[in-house]
Subunit: 266 residues, 2 copies
């Protein structure tokens, strides 16, 4: 199609601008983020998210879904760029780049816009620092039918390339909210909601614990876990077996094991 | 102590040799791997693994466990090196290095040396490519009381810095075996063992499925899942709810959700 713009140089300013979206400061200033891969972009499209910029590798194979995507981007007035795979690799920071990437506007992540009645389960991450863990929590949330992921305090950026990649498209299907504890806690108590966390304090076994919807399943920071007062603010504290030397699970794993148990128990 | 060797230069050959342990080729040639952090090295020590080389940051705080570790390394004839934190950072590839790192001899990972009667649960990863996922599976294995992790076909290296880090010490507590499917499958059938995988083929719900010990919980490659013939070779295929758009979980998450269910069901 004639509307595709060809970019051949690494030093092209558009390449530089796209590359900078790997950097949080630039993402926040621009209000945009990058997502790669036809599957992910198709998920996005089916959830109503059309990229503002579509970047195609010259080496891509033709695909009907890609043609549909390109047509929709063009129809929405978006920009379509065609470039060499090594330039696409430089943009996404991935050695073996996908054949397509898109630039999306970041979503509204205010707690006020979250409708808690939209789902029975919500995941809550407190100071989760690893973008891969955040993305994996989004992916798990999608699988268990959660409404979304609420990020409390100083979490990694859910719109980082790493988080988007690990989410496997769930960044587009899950509602994402960001808030401090001092915003989240009063919001939670302003309506129905059971706050649940894994804990060693006055806790009951996680299997067959009395989960109720909407259930907010909270996991804490990778190194420090949850602050004590956050745990004490929970309606339900549960323990998972720890048969070995370790006293904790990976944050995304804990969210998943607990999330699947809540799904079975509701 | 006078036996500590001071290293002050980035170009020191010992620094170079230690740094090269981040590279798989060098690890395999040397038969050694790196692990960082006092907690991890203490776990190792309590499991009977003393580092051959102990690297201490000059900026470390004194700690009784560190003193004990240092004494044991010295008693075992190991080498003790003291160096600046930025050199330690260069060795481990981590921006904020731990105050201590150790070099360990790699373990025997032959299937023949694995005693299946030592535990009721074993995790099996097939072509798991992400070292973080491997390390997380080791960590989960420790938590559910698994005997260890069996790596089938072309997996990431469990002795990579990333896998060791993600294992949170479980690399020292879990037995690790590496084998091809053509080695693993006859070995499995040469004794008691139920092979279980998540699957969409002729599968039953994962909750309350008839798990029996020793139960081998297998997950497949991050992109492709398990080959069809591997799934068909399973004694039990189970499904986990997938309420959203995604049709799979992160490999380490799938292993954990299934592993915890097996633990509850045995």
């Amino acid at each position: 199609m004639e509307m595709r713009r060809q970019i051949t140089g690494f030093s092209n300013p558009t390449v530089k601008a796209l590359r900078q979206l790997r950097d949080k400061k630039h993402r926040k200033r621009e209000g945009k983020f990058l997502a790669e891969g036809l599957r992910l972009l198709t998920d996005a499209r089916e959830c109503g998210h059309i990229p503002e910029v579509l970047v195609l590798a010259t080496t891509r194979d033709p695909h009907p879904l890609l043609a549909e995507l390109e047509a929709e981007v063009a129809a929405a007035g978006g920009e379509i760029i065609e470039t060499a795979p090594d330039i696409l690799s430089k943009i996404t920071g991935k050695d073996n780049p996908q054949a397509v990437a898109g630039v999306f506007a970041e979503f509204d992540t205010s707690l006020a816009s979250l409708d808690r009645s939209a789902a029975d389960i919500w995941l809550v991450g407190q100071a989760v620092r690893d973008p891969g863990n955040l993305g994996t929590m989004l992916r798990t949330g999608d699988a268990i039918g959660a409404g979304g992921l609420i990020l409390i305090d100083d979490c990694a950026d859910p719109f980082s390339v790493e988080a988007v990649r690990a989410s496997m498209g769930a960044v587009f299907t899950q509602t994402i909210a960001q808030a401090s504890w001092d915003e989240f806690h009063p919001w939670l108590r302003s309506g129905a909601g059971q706050l649940v966390a894994a804990s060693l304090r006055d806790a009951q076994p996680y299997r067959s614990a009395p989960y109720t919807a909407p259930c907010f399943v909270m996991v804490g920071n990778e190194s420090r876990g949850l602050p004590e007062d956050y745990e004490l603010a929970c309606d339900l504290r549960v323990t998972m077996p720890m048969k070995g030397r370790a006293d904790s699970l990976n944050a995304a794993v804990a969210a998943a094991v607990l999330g699947y148990e809540v799904l079975a128990g509701l």
